[in-house]
């Protein structure tokens, strides 16, 4: 197997890596860099558990080859601050049950709120429509995103 050299910035840190040419971004993150917060569910672009932010946009890391990510900036769940507003809102609103979908959900929510601090319910549902959750029935996730938006706007989240 031939290796390919790539440069990527992950969570603010520059990496220069040799990767197998058929390696997926998710394998690079989980297996090589031990960033195991990114989850693999379906491996086919359906569930969003593997969501990361690449070049400012959410993508399924199971559908990106590592060599394609050369020269790009990536944010994974590990790149989100410990006391992040979105994370806290998820916990407070009970939007986390088994937690498998949570890293992807939080990144999808971040990507929405980075552009739009005043999303309608419909916009929130659309933004997380590529992320499946088997546990919560989504309503609590939507409330958590609403609350995070409000807190980010400077309200008290209630």
């Amino acid at each position: 197997m031939i290796l390919k050299k790539i440069e990527v910035n992950i969570n603010g840190r520059d990496y220069c890596l040799d990767v197998e040419e058929n390696l997926r971004l998710i394998d690079l993150l989980r297996d090589k860099l031990k960033l195991t917060g990114t989850k693999e569910g379906c491996g086919e672009g359906e569930c969003g558990a593997c969501t990361v932010i690449m070049g400012g946009k959410i993508v399924n890391s199971c559908l990106v080859l590592a060599f394609q990510a050369d020269k790009s900036r990536i944010i994974t769940i590990e790149g989100i601050e410990e006391d992040d507003v979105i994370k806290n809102s998820f916990i407070e609103e009970g939007a986390v049950q088994c937690g498998f979908c949570t890293p992807g959900m939080v990144l999808a929510a971040k990507s929405l709120l980075d552009k739009n601090l005043n999303p309608t319910e419909e916009e929130i549902r659309e933004a997380i429509s590529g992320n499946l959750c088997r546990c919560t029935g989504y309503n609590k996730i939507v409330s958590a995103v609403k609350k995070a938006a409000k807190l980010k706007r400077g309200g008290d989240g209630e």
Partner: protein, 292 residues
């Protein structure tokens, strides 16, 4: 498998001429990576065009709107050059999969993957789009409607790639409407879609109409018989109903013998009507015929 990330189009064509069909272009990878992992594709080399600026973006020339094949669905949705008369193209791009898929998946991949349910293909067919296809030292143009050869297969030689999609920028009294049945992620059978391009005069006479269907046959295609029926007629409830009936018959005939023939031909009527009314609305700014 060799992974290649060329710096420009020239390099892409160079590699393609060297490897021919053994090398596959990878853009968003949302179709290809799944196929490789399932063992349905086994290319010797992958040539990545997903970050090649030369093949990305939307431009306006004197006559045409030109779209780079590596332009993502999200970029189409957000493009201000695509004005309101082209709403059908944006609606189709917006209807694709999920935000994650729209952020990676490209219009060129949608065309070249040649799936019957490729959502941006019906609107591009209704716009009578032209594909620019290049290989090392060669370049040709082909109408999108002549591109598809079979399910999953477009008319590309081993050393060729799609480098541009272009169509005439619609005039004020022209509009492109789109409608897709059912929810996304629903069964493939209910991914049925229609795109209608319409030009009408002040008397509501149809000057130009192009109709394209998705997820009905082996690939998205123009509905020429219905186009012929409608051309030159005054658009009113009566003509719309006649066109719907004709469409139902044409599709039933095409799918005859298949289990889905009845369902699809009936469903197609309603989906077609919505796409037509959407187009009409863009031409006139009002909706005279929507009752239900």
């Amino acid at each position: 498998m060799e992974a290649i990330k060329p710096k420009n189009l020239e390099e892409v064509l160079e590699y393609k001429s060297k490897y021919k069909g053994d090398a596959k272009i990878i853009a968003g990878g949302t179709d290809l990576i799944i196929k490789i992992r399932k063992g349905e594709e086994n290319p010797k080399a992958l040539i990545d065009i997903s970050s090649l600026n030369e093949l990305k973006g939307i431009r306006e020339t004197l006559e045409y709107i030109e779209i780079g094949p590596a332009t993502t669905f999200t970029e189409i949705c957000e493009c201000i050059l695509l004005n309101k008369n082209l709403k059908g193209l944006k609606d189709a791009a917006r209807s694709v999969g999920s935000p994650q898929i729209r952020n990676r998946g490209t219009v060129g991949g949608n065309i070249c993957n040649a799936s019957p349910a490729a959502d941006t293909v019906p609107p591009l067919l209704a716009l009578d789009s032209i594909l620019v296809i290049e290989g090392k030292g060669k370049k040709r143009e082909i109408y999108l409607k002549d591109f598809f050869k079979d399910k999953g297969r477009g008319e590309l030689e081993g050393d060729e790639i799609l480098t541009k999609i272009k169509f005439k920028n619609p005039l004020k009294n022209q509009g492109l409407g789109f409608y897709k049945l059912g929810l996304r992620k629903a069964l493939a059978i209910s991914r049925l879609s229609f795109a209608v391009f319409l030009e009408i005069d002040e008397m509501n006479r149809i000057e130009i109409v192009r109709i394209a269907s998705g997820a009905i046959g082996k690939f998205p295609m123009r509905e020429l018989e219905v186009e012929e029926y409608l051309t030159g007629r005054i658009i009113n409830e009566n003509t719309i109903e006649e066109a719907e009936t004709l469409l139902e018959r044409v599709i039933f005939e095409r799918l005859k013998g298949r289990q889905t023939a009845k369902f699809k031909s009936i469903a197609a009527k309603g989906v077609f009507k919505k796409a037509l009314l959407n187009a009409l609305y863009l031409c006139k700014g009002v909706n005279d015929f929507e009752k239900n």
